[in-house]
């Protein structure tokens, strides 16, 4: 079963990240690198990506002629997707356990940051009868 683990970060979190001491940032990134390494070794890692600063986020809709109508930036949004993992695991409990590990990544002062991670199953495709 494939699950996506979405790391949501409050906007203030993005802004404060730059003011963490360098060694705290390095410990945080080191933790995430080790997590990726462990998930690769167990064969569970499908993909992991980090997203750029939310200040560049835009919302796009199709205009009447199909041309893009862009909207943004969103200073009022409180939460942004910071990055995600896709894992292929045997059970939903295993997905939760991996999410908990990511949630506990060290923050300022090396304390667990307790980041909320949204866990959603990934579908392989639309139902056969709707193709």
């Amino acid at each position: 079963m494939k699950y996506i683990l979405m790391m949501h970060c409050p906007k203030t979190g993005y802004e404060s990240f730059g003011s963490w001491p360098k060694e705290d940032i390095q410990a945080h990134i080191g933790f995430m690198k080790q997590l990726d390494k462990d998930l690769k070794a167990s064969g569970e890692l499908v993909a992991a990506e980090g997203l750029a600063d939310p200040r560049q986020a835009k919302i796009v809709r199709a205009g009447k002629d199909g041309a893009p109508v862009t909207d943004g930036v969103f200073p009022e949004s409180k939460e942004f997707l910071a990055g995600f993992w896709i894992v292929d695991v045997e059970s939903p409990e295993r997905a939760d356990a991996i999410a908990a590990r990511a949630s506990g990544a060290p923050g300022p002062g090396g304390k667990p940051f307790i980041i909320p991670i949204e866990v959603r199953q990934v579908m392989s495709g639309p139902p056969d009868d709707l193709r």
């Binding site: 996506i4 750029a52 919302i59 796009v60 949630s103 307790i114 579908m123 495709g125």
Partner: protein
């Protein structure tokens, strides 16, 4: 440059989807498949996934002992990520154009859904000085 196109659907939209006519769902899927095919041919396609129904979404945090603490489901949440595309394109404008095509995919009665698509740049990794 890699961009991720995040297709958000209002929760009402997820529920409404279940009552679209089969013809409308098939037409919608066909448009999305056509977009995937074109992006594959142009070499811009990286990845796409659809997510499971939001009535099963959970938020996971690390507990004191690192064990997962799960929270959810979230009946009050208004918007959910329905799926995403990752594309590798020359410019941000090209990413917006692709997002507009996705947004313009046919919905009920063949009218464009005009679903909002959030466009975010994907980073290749943390800045070198922090690794």
């Amino acid at each position: 440059m890699k961009y991720i196109l995040l297709m958000y659907a209002p929760k009402a939209g997820f529920e409404g989807y279940r009552v679209w006519s089969q013809t409308d769902v098939q037409a919608h899927m066909a448009v999305l498949r056509g977009i995937n095919k074109e992006l594959t041919e142009s070499g811009e396609f990286v990845d796409t996934h659809g997510l499971g129904w939001p009535d099963r979404a959970k938020i996971v945090r690390a507990g004191k002992d690192g064990e997962p603490v799960t929270d959810g489901v979230f009946p009050e949440t208004k918007e959910f990520l329905a799926g995403y595309w990752m594309v590798d394109v020359e410019t941000a404008e090209r990413a917006y154009a692709i997002a507009a095509r996705i947004s313009g995919a046919a919905g009920p009665g063949g009218m464009p859904t005009n679903m909002p698509v959030e466009v975010r740049q994907v980073m290749s990794g943390p800045p070198e000085e922090l690794v």
